[in-house]
C-alpha cells in the first residue's frame, strides 16, 4: 500500500492523506472497528460533516487498500489494514527507497556503503574496542 501523492510540505498524517482522510484515519487508529455512522459522530464533535461525504472517503480508503470493510448484520465495520506504526514505518521505508533509488544515479560521498558486505566478526571486535575505550574515558 504505497501512497503515490506524498505531500512534502505537510506534516503528520496530512503528508499521506487529504484533510478528511487524515482525520478519519486518526479516529480509526484510536479504535478497533467502526461504522461510518460512528466515525461521522466523532467528526461531528469537531465540525459537522455530511454522512455521504464520510462514506465516500471511507470507501475510497478501502479501494486504496488502507481500510478493510467487514459486513456484520446490517452494518459495515471498517478498520485500518495496518496499525499506525506499521503504516508510518512502511511509508517512510518507501520514501527512503525512492530517495535512494534516485541517489543511485548521483555521485556522492557518504558514511556507509555496501552494508551486506560487512564482516560481522570485525563489527564485533569494533564493538568490544569501543566499549573498552569508553570505559577508560
Amino acid at each position: 500500500m504505497l501512497i503515490r501523492k506524498f505531500k512534502i510540505n505537510e506534516s503528520g498524517l496530512n503528508r499521506f492523506f487529504g484533510p478528511l482522510e487524515a482525520k478519519i484515519m486518526d479516529i480509526l487508529w484510536n479504535d478497533v472497528e467502526m461504522t461510518i455512522k460512528d466515525v461521522q459522530q466523532v467528526l461531528d464533535l469537531e465540525k459537522v460533516t455530511n454522512f455521504n461525504t464520510v462514506m465516500t472517503v471511507m470507501n475510497r480508503l478501502v479501494e486504496k487498500g488502507i481500510l478493510q470493510k467487514r459486513v456484520e448484520g446490517r452494518s459495515s465495520l471498517y478498520k485500518p489494514v495496518q496499525t499506525r506504526a506499521e503504516f508510518l514505518s512502511a511509508q517512510s521505508k518507501e520514501m527512503t527507497n525512492e530517495l535512494m533509488d534516485e541517489f543511485g544515479n548521483v555521485v556522492v560521498s557518504h558514511m556507509l556503503d555496501a552494508l551486506e558486505d560487512v564482516d560481522d566478526d570485525l563489527v564485533a571486535k569494533l564493538e568490544q574496542k569501543i566499549k573498552e575505550l569508553k570505559k577508560d574515558m
Binding site: I8, N9, S92, K93, M95, T96, N97, L99, M100, D101, E102, F103, G104, N105, V106, V107, V108, S109, H110, M111, L112, D113, A114, L115, E116, D117, V118, D119, L122, V123, K125, L126, E127, K129, I130, L133, K134, M137
Partner: protein
Amino acid sequence: MTKRQSSLMFIVSLVISGTIFLQMALYVISMLAGWNVKFNIVEVCHSTLKAFGLSSLEYVLDALVIYTLLFSLWKMVSQLIYATRMKKRFQQYKEKVLTIEMNETYESKNEDFLVISYPGTFAITMGFIHPKIIVTTGLINLLTEDELKAVIAHENYHKVNRDPLKIFLLSLFSSTLGYIPILKWFNQKYRIIQEVLADEFAIEKQETSVNLGSALLKMLKVGKLEKMPFAYASFADTSVNYRIEYMLNPLTDVQWKIPLKDAFLSFVIFILICIFFIYALA
C-alpha cells in the same frame, strides 16, 4: 595508504584518460570541421590500418570514438539531471532551523550544511563545484553530539578534498574507457582509500576513535535493521571492512597488490597509443 598515494592514483587515471579523450575529441572536431590533423592518434590509426590493408576497420575505430564520446556525454548530462533533481528534493525536505543552527555551529558562511527532515540515518557530501554536506534528522536523533561531530569531520574531509567530483571523474573514465582495465581498479580503490583517509582525519581531529567508531556501529545497526538500500551507490567494493580494520588498529597500513595482468595490459594499450602519437608527430 597515504594521501600522496591516493593523489597519485587520481593523477595517473587523469593523465591516461585525458590523453585518450583529448585525442578523440580532436579527431571528432577535425572530422566535423574538415581539418587535416595529421598528428592525431585516431588519424594515425586509420593510416596504419590502411597500410595493413584493413581499411574496413576504420569504421570500427570511428564507431569506438563516437561511442566513447557520446557515452561520456550521456553520463555527464544524466549526472547533471539527477543531481539537479536531488538538490531540488533536498530543498523540499530542508529543516530550516536545524540547517541554520548547524551552519552556525560549524561557522560555515556559504551554507555548506543542509539538514533534511528525513527518517533515514545518513550523511552525504554532494556537489561538484561547491560540495555540500547533507545530514538527516534521523541521523541527528540517532547520534550523540560528539558522534555527530565525528561524522561531520569525516564528511568535511570529502568536501575539502572535492571527492564527489573526483569520484565522478574516475567512475566516468573506468566505464567509458573499459579497454584500459587498470582504470576500474583505480576507481574502486580510490573510493576505499578516501573513506579510510576521511576516517583518519576525523579521528585525528577528535584525538579519539571512540566517537567515529560508535557512530559507525550505530549506523551499521540501524542500516541493517531498516534494510536501508545503502548499496545503491555503484560501489563495486566495500570500504566498511577496511575502515573498521583501521579503527581497530590505526597502525595497520591498507595495502593492495596492483593486479599485474591488468596493469600490464593497460600499460601496453596506453603505450601503443603513445607510440602512434609520437610516430605521428615525428
